[in-house]
Amino acid sequence: MLQGYAVVGLYLLLSFALLGVVLLLWWFLRPKKPNPLKLETYECGVQTVGDAWVQFRAQYYIFALIFVLFDVEAVFLFPWAVAYNQLGLYAVIEMALFLLLLLGGLLYAWRKGALEWA
């Protein structure tokens, strides 16, 4: 079984190595003439103001949060889906309960106005 992963590992190593080779190659090939204009974030257009660390509204955290929780929920679906054949109706009921609770939570948050984007 592990042989299968060895191939993946080799592939990973190879792709990293390739990346290194390409970077090195360009390091030798490219001309090095830095000037202030080149170091600007945008070469043309409006001058940038402040730095790139702008803070955005905490409201958006809620979306990231709900994404994480439903990501976890999705992970539960994988073993359920493959075990479904052996278990039948019980599995359906159990998963339905699981999903209903979370769906209820989402509807609740929505209804309470937590998901307004603006």
Binding site: A58, Y61, L65, V68, L69, D71, V72, V75, F76
Partner: protein
């Protein structure tokens, strides 16, 4: 031959690093990451034990632990966001509204 002891020693090491980090860092976010590292070390111990004993329970436990960790992160970061609104910091030394 890699034995269970190897894995348990590695997980103990990772756990210890996390625990020390928890005590010496001041940024609440990094403190919390140290806890995640510790959880991860515990997970490694569970899966290693599960493998060497040929039992599935350890893997299931880790599955649940990962789920709990996700919920913990959601809650912990929400608390930090809430504090940041009023205090503008996540440095635990500056949270002095309560004395120890």
């Amino acid at each position: 031959m890699v034995t269970l002891t190897h894995y348990l020693a590695l997980s103990a090491l990772l756990f210890g690093i996390g625990a020390v980090g928890f005590l010496i860092r001041r940024n609440a976010l990094i403190i919390f990451m140290c806890v995640e590292l510790m959880l991860n070390a515990a997970g490694l111990a569970f899966v290693a034990a599960s493998r060497y004993r040929g039992l599935l329970e350890g893997q299931l436990t880790v599955f649940f632990v990962l789920t709990v960790a996700a919920a913990e992160v959601a809650v912990g970061l929400a608390l930090m966001v809430a504090i940041f609104r009023t205090k503008r910091t996540t440095n635990v030394d500056e949270l002095s509204g309560l004395r120890g």
